[in-house]
Amino acid sequence: MSPEHGAEPLVGWRVWRVVGDSLRAAVWGTEWPPLARFEADCLDLRPAAHASPGRGCDCGVYAFKRREDAELLAREKVDPKDVLALGRVSLWGRVIETERGFRAERAYPYDLLLLGGTEQLARKLRNRYAVDVSLGLAPRPLHTGAG
């Protein structure tokens, strides 16, 4: 697979957990720094250190092509005490496109929809990350009850 070349960042969909006034990856909990690109780093040392995203690895910054897939992940990950952010993310550097998404080397949020937060928190995120933040309803959990 020889890489194609492009000059425009790709745009995908992601979900973050909002902790304080910071964005954290919904799956791994890694903090996304404001006003700085987020760079992928591979933590798997078995095949020896390699640049991320690796072809034979699962590393990289993940994003979906479709908003619906990111919303589904938000509903899977939702906890009543969590505030989540759903949004588009710019992707650049080396990017591996997959059937339903991307694994990228570099990323930064493009815009955010705060799910279950307040206008005050939206304003804080807007000021810290310098992106558009709007307010949405808290996602409905996929799994409810004790079973």
Partner: protein, 36 residues
Amino acid sequence: MADIGAPVREIEIEPHEEPVPTPAPAVEPALEPEPA
């Protein structure tokens, strides 16, 4: 790990300008006009 399916292609993207906002410059407070 989110299920995003199998790889389709690899792209090397070098934007002319990175899509990372730069901090807004600090705004100097306007000087009070001197009393006449």
